[in-house]
Structure formats: C-alpha cells, structure tokens
Amino acid sequence: MQSSNELIEIKDKLWNGSINIKILMEDDNNEDPKEFLITAYRNSYFPIYFPSVIAYFQQYNERIKNMPVWLEYETVPIKWNLPIGVLYDLLHLSSIIQNREDSSWKLTLRFSDDYPTDQVIPFTYTDDDNSINYNRLLKEVIVNQLKQSCFVINGNSKPIMNLSEKDSDELWNAIRTHNLKSFNQINKKIIPIRKKFQKLPVKIYIPGSATIIHAPIYPYSDTGEAILLKNILEQYLPDLMSNNTDKVGSIYIHGINVESIINKEIINVWELFKHLDNFLYIIVLFSTYSTI
C-alpha cells in the first residue's frame, strides 16, 4: 500500500498524463497537409482544444471558423464525448503495443457539410458571430456523465443537482482549465465518504469489438469483504480470466497495464484511476487484437 504522499503524486501524474498529437488538415489547393502539434491531456476532451486548433488552421481556410469540425483516425470519425485518453487506448494503443506505430497520434481534422452525424454528436450551438460554440455542448455532455456517475455512487443525482451555481461554474472551469485542486474541491461534494458509497461506476471497453460494458460495482460483498479488480474481471469477462495458462488478453487503465494491481481492492483502483467524469474506464485488449 502506498503512502498518502505517494498516492497524491500518482493522482497528480494521472491527472497530468498527456499525449502528443499531430493534427493534419488537408489543403484545398492540393498542397501538403498543414500540421498542428498539441500535447493534450488524457483526462480531457477534444472540444476543449478545438478553438485553439481552429485559430491556427483558419489562416489556411477561413470557412473552418463557422463549420463544426471533427477529427478522424484512419478515416474513422472520433467520438469526442469520450475522454481523450480513453479514445487513444481504444483506437491506437494496440498499434503501439504491436510496434506498428509510435506513441504520438496522427489525426485528421475535417470540416464540411457532411458532418458524420450518424457517428459523432453534432455541435449545434453557435455564438453571436456565427462561430461554433464547442464548449456549451461539451459541458452538457460532461454534466450528464457526472450525473450518471453521481447516481451510481450515491443512489441518486441530488449531490450534483444541488450544487450551487457558483460551484457548478467552478467545476466546469476546473475541467476546462484542467485545474486539479479546484476540481477536487467541488468534486468532493459529489462523492460521499467511503462507507456511504452505494456502487462504483465502471465502464469496460474492448477495442475492435462493439462491446461496452456498463458495470455498477458494489465495492464490498454481502459479507463485507472488499471486491477486487480481479473479481470484477472474472464476473464481466470470464474468458479473459479463465484458468487456462494461455494469456488471452491484457488490461489497461489510463494506458497503463494494470495486471500487477489485479488483486487490489476495486474501491482503491477506482479512487486512484477514475476520470474526471468519475467513471473508471477499463480497456481490455484481447490477443486477437494484440500480440501480447
């Protein structure tokens, strides 16, 4: 068990974990694509970066300011409503593990009348100058995620619904500016003390498949024993955890292989690794999709 100082340091590192991303925009004049390099926080969302990306690219194409943009990875439109780190682990992690690509992520910026509304949530809000307001919809989406996790943890959404306007604004500003201290000050009003936890909100993704598992987890058994990360995986992914000696998959959280902490209590794993929407995202790479 780590000391509290070590835990604070780990939480700090996870909060500030980031990814190098090269964003390409094709040129209307058939010149080489224009590039924009950013270091994006894993525990953040792409629309937060869109204004600065657009501010750079509009020197090459002014239309970009008034048209909703989206990002693509290998022609697949990216669902901006998931944390950047989760998207990276879902779409890119297996390529890195197989040494097919390096850790930087190359994405293409798109904007046209053919926004992929069937796959990506469209941005429908605009500002007075007709430019797209990315923050407003992102805020709605994150607040809904927070309501959902709050419901799972508390058995109702009252703690977040009862936040004052000032606290709500401060929470959103902390998310937008990626301020951990400020975020924690408000988030602790949503999360109760441990013994009042009802369930833990966990989502399990399997890259390469259409599987998403929404797992509300009781942190303790009926007899009061702590539930371990391993128990959750045995329950939800029995194939992964079979006693067969052949390794069938690997488990990642925040891009980190977490097999060494598989026997840790799920409540500790959740508390350490939860994202800013208070969900624990577990990514499972099955061997079919990786060479591990």
Binding site: D118, I121, H214
Partner: protein, 221 residues
C-alpha cells in the same frame, strides 16, 4: 414481484416480449388537434425487432428492442421516421429510451424507404419547429433539459441518438408504483412489470416526449 417500485434487468428481460406485443397492438397516433390537415397523418410501424447482445459475461444478458415508425401526411413537410430503442440501464436501474428521427423526403409508406432521401434531424429545435403539430408538442417547448444527444449505451457503432436523461426516472416511477390502486397483490409478476412499463412509456418513453404517439391500451393489462 416488483420490489421498491422498480423492476430489475432480469424482470425487464423476462417480460419485454409481452410489452413489445402490447406496443405493436396498441401504439396509436392520437392528435388532439382538430385541424383537419393534421388528422390526415398516417402512422405505420415499419420495423420491430429484439436484439440480444452476446457479451459472454456472468451477469444478466443485455437486450434492446428496436422499433421504427413512420408518420406521413400531406400536411407534413416530409414523412417522419422515428427509430426508438427500449433497453435497461444498469447504472440508473430503469428502462431507457433512445430515439433517432429522420426526415424522409421520399414519402415512403409501408417500409419502402429510399435511403438517399432520408436525412437525420439532429436538433430538438428543428424537430419542434417542423413537426410540433403532429407530435402534439408546443412550438415554444424547450426539450433541451430533458433530451440530449448521446452515444447509445448498447449500440456502440451507430452512436448518435436522442436520449431522455433518466436521473429522475427511478424516483418518479417508484412514486407511481407505490401509489394506491396501481399494483394488486393478486397481480402476477408479468402483470406488474407490464403496468410498470406502460407507466414508464407514458412518462419517460416515447409517449412522454411525443404525446401523440400514444400507447392506447384496448385491453386491461
């Protein structure tokens, strides 16, 4: 039997077929507007199926029921296709509705749809401004707080759906179910779950959002 005014995922799975039968037999377009142009609207169920997800877990299986309805009529700018799914949300412990709406300019009837003429409606404002009459909506209604666009919780690869946010559903349905005269001790579990789902449909299902697409039961549950 229903406990604490809520149904479980298991009860949902066990009785969704019976509820679906009720839907197919009793879903009606009931416009309260006396406007004769509105009353010419036709209503068809053009698709309905159950999908069971193969998650291979030790937990309860996940099921959703998908239905496509078509509302057409000369008074409407185009035919309106509404896809909706009914499924059970493990986080909120209630049934949830996801729906998508499409304008069908090919004015298809009876399932013959030219996909090239189908365009999605992605804002509630657009939906309200064009179809408020036939859906019995107020033209100044703000659906924003209750309906948001989101990824479907069970259908990952077709992601964008309107979603009725269910953070109040558990509490509201519990109040309804625990009110007098709703459940009888002699009711079977099936009858209790069907009553629950009918009330859910009218409050947080399609009928709760579009009052004209109503579940008019001709038989007592």
């Amino acid at each position: 039997m229903i406990k604490d005014g809520r149904i479980t995922n298991c009860q949902f799975n066990d009785h969704i077929d019976e509820f679906n039968e009720l839907l197919l037999q009793n879903l009606r377009l009931v416009t309260s507007n006396s406007n004769s142009e509105i009353s010419d609207a036709n209503f068809d169920i053009i698709n309905n199926y159950k999908k069971e997800l193969n998650l291979n877990t030790k937990i309860q299986k996940k099921i959703y029921m998908l239905t496509r309805i078509c509302i057409s009529g000369f008074s409407l700018p185009t035919s309106l296709l509404v896809d909706f799914t009914i499924s059970y949300d493990d986080f909120y412990m209630v049934p949830v509705l996801y729906f998508r709406v499409f304008q069908d300019s090919s004015r298809s009837i009876g399932g013959n749809i030219d996909e090239a003429g189908v365009t999605p409606i992605t804002s509630t404002e657009e939906l309200i401004s064009n179809y408020y009459s036939v859906l019995n909506l107020n033209d100044d209604l703000n659906l924003g707080p209750t309906i948001t666009l989101d990824s479907h919780h069970l259908i990952y690869d077709s992601s964008v759906w309107f979603y009725i946010h269910p953070c109040e559903t558990l509490r509201t349905l519990k109040e309804f179910m625990e009110a007098d005269n709703i459940l009888f001790t002699c009711d079977s579990e099936q009858a209790q779950v069907l009553k629950y789902l009918c009330i859910w449909y009218a409050t947080y299902g399609l009928g709760g959002i579009f009052p004209s697409i109503s579940l008019r039961l001709s038989l007592q549950v």
